[in-house]
């Protein structure tokens, strides 16, 4: 939409023992602060956080760093953090362009839950 302000929406829903956090819109550095808070809140409220990427219009490096950081935080807290469901095309393109795709996870990834392995 021409002239429309870019938006990012997040929604958190607790379902049983897991918290589902959904992101839509522009997952970019402009909204990185909001995303960070949403992720912190989800990890505080739930031991098992599932992130769903809905209608993602844009995604950038800041978004990837946030998700990576959230996973690291979850591992440290002995919580579970995953990205579930189909990954939007824009998101996949950014992951690839930023060189985030990999064969093995980081040193913290004992549970083999790295968000970037073979996805």
């Amino acid at each position: 939409m021409k002239g429309a302000k870019a938006v990012m929406k997040s929604k958190f829903k607790q379902s049983g023992d897991k918290g589902i956090l959904t992101f839509d819109g522009d997952l970019t550095v402009e909204h990185a602060g909001e995303m960070r808070l949403a992720l912190i809140k989800a990890l505080v409220d739930s031991d098992r956080v599932e992130v769903k990427l809905g209608e993602v219009a844009k995604a950038d490096l800041a978004c990837l760093q946030l998700l990576c950081s959230a996973h690291r935080t979850a591992v440290t807290l002995k919580k579970c953090f995953t990205v579930v469901g189909a990954r939007p095309e824009k998101f996949k393109q950014t992951v690839e362009a930023a060189g985030y795709l990999r064969f093995t996870g980081c040193s913290l990834d004992r549970e083999k839950g790295c968000l970037w392995v073979g996805k």
Partner: protein, 737 residues
């Protein structure tokens, strides 16, 4: 990633080495030829980096493949030479005539080592090997390198002066890049991912993000960049293009670029570096860390991560580099393997023999089909004939090789000989791509060397003499090859003193080779005498030309190839020797004829036309062996008489008119049969020297037909005529009605 080995058959190591060596044989000599050619060019253009690269690569491959094939002496020796050329590449040593001389000597020594195994050429002089190797060591600059020979495999850290800064078309260089942007790059409005995209556009690029610096959420400032990247890029764009990508962030970012491969120079290494080697090179792993990890027995990457000495991201990046290089090499090797394959000459000769047999059988089949006169059979016979013809042409084309493969050898001859004789000469070649049958090329090499040596020794004058006559001090020998119908013309032209026609005439008269009554003998015919055995007008025999091999040997060799030699020369301006050679020696297009019950084949390329010879025509010629062909007088030779064939000729005979050395000469036969694919079979040793016959072929019904050596027949008839003229009885009168 560990080296992958193909499972080998259950064979002894000696047998495996022998097989490897046999496979390497052709390549070894090709590499030596390439080394020689590159060195000779480098001598002319010492600053040319590409040529230095060519020399280095040839040496590197000889060393690597030599080691693989168990030629330890070759490998060790070549390493010394390669070390020097690695320094030349780095600009630490300059190319000089001394270096070229020494490297050419080293090349000859490597050849002697290979000859020792492949050709049983005696043992290579180990003392000489040591001497040459020592000379190379002495060339090393005094920086401690003499003790620590330079490893050509380590990465070259790019400096302002090192590595190709400019794009080198066609030359692919692989770079290892680490880009660590300033943390505030995002707030500067720069998207580092777009820089990576730009990097990718330069060539084949693999990027791995390093995330080990990404903190936990509570410590994370979402507007900062914590990621840094490792990239492996193969490109011909040069270092500057890489730097240009990061030009706007260069002051705030960390950029490290290493060259890890240049134009596939590491392709002959069995496998790319191990993960641990890459990590140590990158500075991501210390030697101590490696030792610590090696205590367990897991995969190297896992061990390193578990030992806590390397971040998994770095292992990932090293794995990516390994994979990138593996794929790059596979791509290159696939491209090479699809463009050509190496087949042993024995197999090729075997194929040619089979095709020759096939051609003979096809002739029998066509003949049988004609006898049965069955339309269907005739149609199949025609199809088989067409296919056999194509198969023949294709097989023959496989045997074709560019003559240029031998040219570098001649350059070396000119270089060494002119230097030995205190002359200045250069060899200019043209038509290196001209293709000739492999056997022809092999058998042509020695005669050409001899002719070129003659040019330098007798043709090219010393520089002072040349300058006096207004010529440049440096003489030129021009060697060219060009296709001409079913032949290849090879020309050796020099701008030397030229032949002394009067001297040759005097010598020929003295030897009784030329009739004193014929002072008008054209120079072209006169010069042919220098090809006669024992004919020399030289005042002195030099070391070069006095080796007991005269030009008559060259002539014999060219005759054996069914070729001819033509000489033209102008005193003071130079000499041109033209060799006319058939494209192939195995199968020719022939022209089949019959005399009585005997069959004879003319090489079709020599045949111009056929005319009838009637009794009346013979009568009109007043008993002379000449025919009037549309007003043109053509002398002829009666093959029935020449070969003493019994029986009388038919009322109407046929004259096959050929062109030999610009003369039209006819050959009288009884009947003409027509075109015939002629598989040339050598005559047995007993008949090898029969004059006028160059070989035999087997016809469809199993009959043997003789292949005529037309130039030789003409030559011997002329000789007979000369002798009979001397005897006062012109042969032209000796006609049988």
């Amino acid at each position: 990633m560990d080296e992958i080995r193909e499972p080998l058959e259950d064979e002894s190591p000696e047998h495996i080495i022998a097989k490897l060596r046999e496979t390497f044989k052709d390549e070894a000599y090709e590499l030596l030829a390439e080394l020689e050619a590159a060195l000779l060019e480098l001598e002319k253009s010492p600053a040319d980096e590409d040529l230095t690269g060519r020399v280095f690569r040839a040496l590197h491959t000889i060393k690597g493949s030599g080691a693989t094939c168990g030629f330890r002496d070759v490998s060790g020796f070549t390493h010394e030479v390669e070390t020097i050329f690695d320094m030349v590449r780095k600009g630490k040593i300059a190319v000089s005539k001394e270096l070229i001389d020494l490297t050419l000597k080293a090349r000859d020594q490597i050849k002697a080592m290979f000859d020792q195994y492949y050709r049983g050429g005696g043992s290579a002089d180990t003392v000489r090997t040591r001497e040459i190797a020592a000379s190379f060591k002495n060339l090393l600059p005094d920086t401690g390198d003499k003790q620590n020979a330079v490893s050509p495999y380590g990465p070259r850290r790019h400096t302002e002066s090192g590595g190709p800064s400019q794009a080198v078309p066609g030359k692919n260089v692989t770079y290892r890049i680490r880009f660590r942007p300033a943390q505030d790059i995002l707030s500067q409005g720069v998207n580092p991912v777009s820089l990576l995209d730009e990097l990718r556009r330069l060539g084949d690029c693999t990027v791995v993000a390093q995330t080990d610096a990404v903190p936990k959420l509570e410590d994370l400032n979402p507007e900062l960049c914590y990621t840094y990247w490792d990239a492996i890029l193969t490109t011909s764009q040069g270092m500057n293009a890489i730097k240009d990508v990061f030009i706007f962030v260069k002051d705030s970012s960390e950029l490290k670029v290493d060259i890890i491969d240049e134009d596939g120079k590491l392709d002959d290494e069995k496998s790319y570096k191990r993960i641990s080697d890459i990590l140590v090179e990158r500075g991501d792993l210390t030697a101590d860390g490696l030792q610590k990890a090696l205590k367990s027995k897991k995969l190297m990457g896992e061990m390193l991560v578990e030992a806590g000495v390397v971040a998994p991201g770095h292992v990932e990046s090293a794995l990516v580099e390994q994979q990138h290089m593996k794929e790059l090499r596979e791509k290159r090797q696939t491209a090479e393997s699809t463009s050509s394959i190496r087949v042993s000459t024995d197999r090729l000769d075997g194929l040619v023999d089979l095709v020759s047999e096939m051609v003979t059988v096809q002739a029998r089949f066509s003949r049988a089909a004609a006898l049965f006169n069955n339309p269907e059979l005739l149609s199949i016979a025609e199809e088989v004939e067409r296919l056999t013809g194509e198969l023949r042409d294709n097989t023959m084309s496989i045997r074709m090789m560019p003559i240029g493969t031998t040219f570098s050898k001649f350059k070396r001859v000119v270089r060494d000989l002119s230097s030995e004789l205190g002359k200045e000469a250069v060899l200019v070649t043209e038509g290196a791509e001209t293709e000739l049958d492999k056997t022809v090329i092999e058998r042509l090499s020695d005669p050409l060397v001899h002719l070129i040596r003659n040019c330098i020794d007798h043709g090219i004058e010393p520089p002072e003499t040349r300058k006096v006559t207004g010529k440049p001090g440096q003489g030129t020998v021009h060697l060219s090859a060009i296709h001409s119908g079913a032949h290849v013309l090879i020309q050796i032209r020099d701008d030397g003193a030229g032949l002394d026609a009067n001297g040759i005439r005097a010598k020929a008269t003295e030897k009784g080779l030329v009739d004193g009554n014929r002072p008008d003998l054209p120079d072209r015919e006169l010069f042919q005498f220098i090809l006669a055995p024992g004919f020399s007008t030289a005042k002195k025999v030099t070391d070069v030309s006095g080796r007991g091999v005269g030009l008559d040997v060259v002539k014999k060799a060219i005759d054996a190839l069914r070729g001819s030699i033509e000489i033209s020369s102008q005193k003071g301006l130079g000499t041109t020797i033209t060799l006319k050679l058939p494209l192939t020696l195995a199968i020719i297009d022939g022209f089949l004829t019959r005399i009585g019950a005997e069959y004879f084949v003319f090489p079709l390329s020599l045949v111009e036309e056929c005319v009838e010879l009637t009794r009346e025509g013979v009568k009109n010629a007043c008993g002379r062996n000449i025919a009037n062909v549309r007003g043109d007088i053509v002398p002829y030779i009666r093959l029935r008489e020449r070969f003493s064939i019994d029986g009388g000729p038919p009322p109407i005979e046929q004259i096959v008119i050929t062109r030999v050395e610009d003369k039209r000469v006819g050959f009288v036969v009884d009947h003409i049969i027509g075109g015939h694919q002629t598989v040339i079979k050598n005559l047995g040793g007993f008949y090898r020297n029969v004059e006028g016959i160059s070989g035999a072929t087997i016809l469809g019904d199993g009959t043997v037909a003789l292949i005529l050596d037309v130039p030789k027949l003409v030559q011997s008839s002329e000789k007979e005529e000369m002798q009979s003229l001397k005897g006062g009885e012109p042969s032209i009168q000796k006609t049988v009605a």
